[in-house]
């Protein structure tokens, strides 16, 4: 939540900063601001609303500077106002600071500063930082010393970038919130995430917690909290800058839905052996999981649904597996043993709830494994091992291609675990590998032939939308409902098909269409649930590969998916539901890539 940018060395920093903020807007869009420094002093512009408001303000009253910092906000402390927008300054206006995260001891710091005469102009936790720096400067410290001392008195999670006095430099640090350094030709960038500067450079340094970086026009220096130099490798990011743009599509979400065949090809690349009917994971050779007795899957939101999907696959193959919402994991404290494998699933690798749960699992002695999309993210450092889903950057707040890639990567992991634990490939392995190698083409077929828009038009204006499925189709039903509600703002709920008659059936009316997901496994049972809702007058949309049988006979509408292995059919069904959600929201003219109150990467608990 919240995105920060900084740049130095370019001719005019304003364009780079604003451009970077637009690319980080998925992290928050309550307000945005930039502070740039030129010979005379700091120029500051900030506005409530999306980054486009800031762009308009800068166009109206142009500012210029050789270097600067920027911020797009997802409010945590203090309401959404111009005053609470970042950057924040001290009274003199000579220090400007942007911050992502939460400073947990800001109340006591603030009272101390106020008692010493400092006047605060916002309700944010961040504003303590410029005042602390100012105080240290007044005591005779150099800008760098003042920055270090100020950061030293903070607790909580933060990524901070600051410009201080006349020193032509950007001072930055991170602890618990993401921060990356972009190394260009004579220009340097700092940002919460790589897309902010991928247009300028693909050379990236992933900073670690506790790192301090001072960036000047002619270079950068990374040190630890004690001031000792630290060597961090410059890595080359293989993202095509185009993948972080809309590339002709109206929304990032629609583009990312259509990128799924390519994303899935990358997820499975070199990992399937259809000859041998098994998986080949470079990260996990055979026997990697021989001593695993049970699996805990920790995640939030869409990633949690992917975790539930994997738990269902593992359990059906005889491996005890439990999917937990990471935010609950530290509260309910499920028993963890040394032979528990904890799999943490997070698109960004920065999800605060999930990171917290991982720390708890590690402390309890579990082996931890991160399944994530982002190389070098915090979760890859917190966990013993990592499995990258390789979906490419996802900008739309509503996760789409990363769900498909997460489920696919977890399915591969499942087969590895099953083979290691039981000593034999699961009976389904060969067919499943064949189905996985066909999956990108099957997803393409869904995209090419989907009738989702017609369905969205047909049922626009309904009272509610329900999604049901069993087995792996249960998390897909939950995910279908989540996607639908988060971008359309319409009431949508997902249920296990068997749960309907235990309560939710009371909500079913002729004005509440029910989307029923059939995977080819236990379809008959789901069909009897369909008949129950139909008897109450609700229209039924079946998502199925069935071409001639009973399912199509009973459904009012059919969203067809290619015939495939039941264990992976949920991925195809989910693509249909993504399209239904997208078109429903599009008909209502919702801001699909930036749904209200949400942000993509949830780095606060």
């Amino acid at each position: 939540m919240c995105g920060i940018t900084a740049c130095i060395g370019a001719d005019n920093s304003v364009d780079s900063l604003v451009d970077g903020l637009q690319r980080l807007e998925y992290r928050g869009y309550d307000s945005a601001g930039i502070a740039v420094k030129n010979g005379s002093g700091i120029s500051l512009t900030k506005r409530v609303g999306e980054v486009s408001e800031l762009v308009a303000a800068v166009e109206q009253n142009p500012i210029a500077g050789d270097y600067g910092i920027g911020h797009t906000r997802w409010a945590t402390h203090g309401g959404v106002t111009d005053g609470n927008a970042h950057p924040h300054t001290d009274e003199s206006g000579r220090i400007a600071v942007v911050h992502n995260g939460i400073i947990s001891n800001f109340q006591s710091l603030r009272s101390d500063l106020e008692s010493r005469g400092h006047v605060f102009s916002s309700e944010t936790d961040t504003e303590v930082v410029p005042h602390l720096i100012e105080e240290n400067l007044r005591d005779g410290a150099t800008p760098e010393e003042a920055f270090r001392a100020a950061v030293g008195s903070l607790s909580g999670s933060y990524a901070i970038a600051a410009i201080i006095g006349d020193e032509e430099a950007i001072f930055a640090t991170r602890s618990g919130s993401p921060l990356v350094l972009g190394v260009g030709d004579g220009e340097y960038f700092l940002a919460s995430d790589v897309p902010a500067f991928i247009q300028h450079t693909a050379r990236v340094v992933y900073l670690h917690d506790g790192d301090f970086v001072v960036t000047r026009a002619d270079g950068y220096e990374i040190t630890d909290s004690a001031g000792r130099a630290v060597d961090r490798p410059v890595e080359h990011v293989e993202w095509d800058p185009e993948t972080a743009t809309k590339g002709g599509y109206e929304h990032y979400m629609y583009k990312e839905i259509h990128e799924q065949p390519g994303a899935l090809r990358r997820t499975t690349q070199g990992r399937l052996n259809t000859h041998a009917g098994g998986v080949e994971l470079e990260e996990f050779p055979p026997e990697s999981f021989a001593d695993v007795k049970q699996v805990h899957l920790l995640a939030m939101g869409t990633s949690h649904h992917a975790g539930m999907y994997a738990a269902s696959l593992l359990n059906s193959r005889g491996i005890p597996a439990y999917a937990f919402m990471a935010g609950e994991y530290s509260v309910i404290k499920p028993p963890v043993t040394p032979d528990t494998l904890v799999v943490a699933v997070s698109q960004s690798g920065e999800t605060a709830d999930t990171l917290d749960a991982v720390r708890r699992a590690r402390a309890a002695g579990a082996r931890t494994l991160a399944v994530t999309n982002v190389v070098g993210s915090s979760i890859t450092r917190e966990c013993d091992d990592e499995l990258l889903i390789r979906a490419g950057p996802e900008i739309g707040v509503a996760a789409t291609k990363t769900f498909s890639s997460q489920v696919t990567a977890l399915t591969l992991l499942t087969e590895r675990i099953v083979e290691d634990v039981t000593g034999a490939k699961s009976p389904a392995a060969r067919d499943l590998m064949e189905a996985l190698s066909r999956l990108p083409g099957d997803v393409q077929e869904v995209l090419d032939t989907s009738m989702a828009r017609e369905i969205a038009i047909e049922y626009e204006g309904s009272d509610a939308y329900f999604f049901i499925g069993r087995g792996v189709a249960h998390p897909v039903a939950l995910e279908g409902a989540l996607k639908f509600k988060e971008i359309s703002y319409e009431h949508a709920e997902g249920f296990a098909a068997s749960e309907l008659k235990h309560g939710p059936l009371a909500l079913v009316t002729p004005l509440s269409p029910v989307f029923a997901i059939f995977t080819g496994h236990d379809d008959e049972a789901t069909l009897s649930n369909v008949k129950e809702v139909q008897a109450r007058g609700a229209p039924v949309i079946a998502i199925t590969s069935d071409r001639s049988g009973e399912v199509t006979e009973f459904a009012d509408h059919v969203l067809r998916i290619p015939d495939t292995h039941p264990d992976i059919a949920g991925v195809l069904a989910n693509v249909q539901l993504q399209l239904v959600a997208y078109h429903a929201a599009d008909l209502l003219e919702r801001p699909i890539d930036k749904p209200r109150n949400l942000a993509k990467c949830v780095t606060v608990e």
Binding site: R265, T268, Q269, G270, L272, N273, T274, H275, S437, R438, P440, G441, D442, Q444, E445, D448
Partner: protein
């Protein structure tokens, strides 16, 4: 395949030679010409080629392709990504598009297989020359085996005579001997 695209084609800038595959047989000859320019083959690292398969020169094999034992892929052939070719199949001067599945004991010569299409065991498309009618115009004596459309399914032991075409998503039942065209989304059986 082009008619699947909704958008408009505007303009393309070309620096270099211009080879114009405006007809299906042109697709094959252009591919052959381009591949002949290199001396060896380009086989992606992630492709799995069985040790007893033979991949000749002037061939491209894309990412994640799977080539089974005894298969022969010879000059002028292009396997796009994620294509599988079963045991003892022979692919000559043919294009297999992304996600195409070719069974065991198949012979494909001078042929084009569309994305996601399935070619069953023992299918034979022997290639050769044929008279082809395209959009009402007759082209005589063209070198063209067969064209199998996107996601079409060709059953086991089907014979596709020179110049035959299977439309997108069509299904051809096992054992059929095909002369001429099968339209899109049509099912034909022996």
């Amino acid at each position: 395949m082009i008619h699947y695209l909704d958008g408009h084609v505007t303009s393309v800038l070309v620096n270099g030679g211009w080879l114009d595959p405006s007809h299906p047989w042109g697709l094959l000859s252009v591919t052959e010409t381009l591949l002949a320019r290199r001396h060896d083959s380009a086989v992606a690292e992630s492709a799995r080629i069985h040790e007893r398969a033979l991949v000749g020169d002037h061939v491209v094999v894309g990412e994640d392709c799977d080539v089974g034992p005894g298969a022969v892929i010879s000059a002028g052939s292009c396997l796009q990504d994620n294509v599988s070719v079963g045991a003892n199949s022979v692919i000559e001067r043919s294009i297999l598009s992304t996600d195409a599945r070719v069974g065991a004991g198949v012979v494909l010569r001078d042929s084009v297989v569309g994305p996601g299409a399935t070619v069953g065991d023992g299918v034979v498309s022997p290639g050769g020359r044929a008279d082809v009618i395209l959009e009402g115009r007759l082209y005589t004596d063209r070198r063209l085996g067969s064209i199998i459309g996107d996601r079409a399914e060709v059953g086991a032991n089907v014979t596709l005579t020179a110049g035959s075409r299977v439309g997108a998503e069509a299904v051809v039942g096992p054992g059929t001997v095909l002369h001429g065209d099968v339209r899109e989304r049509v099912e034909v059986t022996h």
